[in-house]
Symmetry: C2
Subunit: 161 residues, 2 copies
């Protein structure tokens, strides 16, 4: 009955472990700040920006600086442990620690991003890795537009129907 909860929880924990291990493997130091950032990234599905991560972690680490957040994100992206998805109509980069094959949907109006599971992406990943000659560090599979909520809002605002 709480199998789902257990599984969800362990999903995030695995993600967190993976992030920490990536930093360790790269020979980078595991500071409390980096741990906290990894913890937050692993446990959210909000596709946060650097500023949002900063705001979320700051209360726990009042001395945390934005520079450290950017620094850590840079490292994680270069290690391929986190994906840099790009903007969503706001001028800021959104990040995703979920490496399972999926595409992301971004709303240009409310600036939110959500996941859309998609098995086809695994194939795409394989093919690109095999055919490109690139050393692939990450992906940015984002469709942007208007989410259902914002479509409704737009329709109400301008009486087209």
């Amino acid at each position: 009955m709480n199998e789902v909860l257990v599984r969800v929880s362990s999903e995030a924990q695995q993600r967190e472990a993976r992030l920490l291990q990536a930093l360790r493997d790269a020979g980078l130091r595991l500071t409390p700040q980096r741990r906290a950032i990894c913890h937050y990234l692993a446990h959210t599905d909000a596709h946060p920006t650097a500023q949002q991560i900063f705001a979320a972690v700051k209360p726990e680490f009042p001395s945390l600086s934005l520079a450290t957040v950017y620094n850590t994100l840079d490292a994680l992206v270069r290690l391929g442990a986190v994906h840099a998805l790009g903007g969503a109509g706001d001028g800021a980069i959104h990040y995703d620690a979920d490496l399972r094959p999926h595409v992301n949907l971004a709303c240009l109006q409310c600036h939110r991003m959500v996941d859309l599971p998609c098995e086809a992406v695994a194939d795409l990943n394989r093919r690109v890795t095999a055919e490109s000659g690139y050393r692939i560090l990450g992906a940015r599979l984002v469709y942007y537009g208007l989410c259902p909520d914002c479509q409704r809002t737009a329709r109400e605002a301008s009486p087209t129907p």
Copy 2:
């Protein structure tokens, strides 16, 4: 013998016509500046940033302002006529006027983007459009990492082999 050249040329011309038509359909005015920007976008495969477009078009229109470039790009992206691909390690957004199904490869070191044709993308587009409930305006299908050239450079710099 020059069939390929003819076809390539008409490809770019079709793109240009499509961009101009999109602006027209939206009721936006076709100023010489917008025409020039569309012309450049349609005829390049460099996935330029706003600054690069500005630098490329400026000589033809010495009075062109960067604000107009951003303004025009914004319009084209919101109309779904141009895709906003996001950054490539530089902090600037790259744009792509080629709407044919493909993924893009970005090198985080030399900041170049190239296309990788991929039939599977057409399916992905269809599926996302059908399943998401979003009004899709554009896509950002980018894999980032190190291009073959930059991998070689990196290897020479640090004698790992």
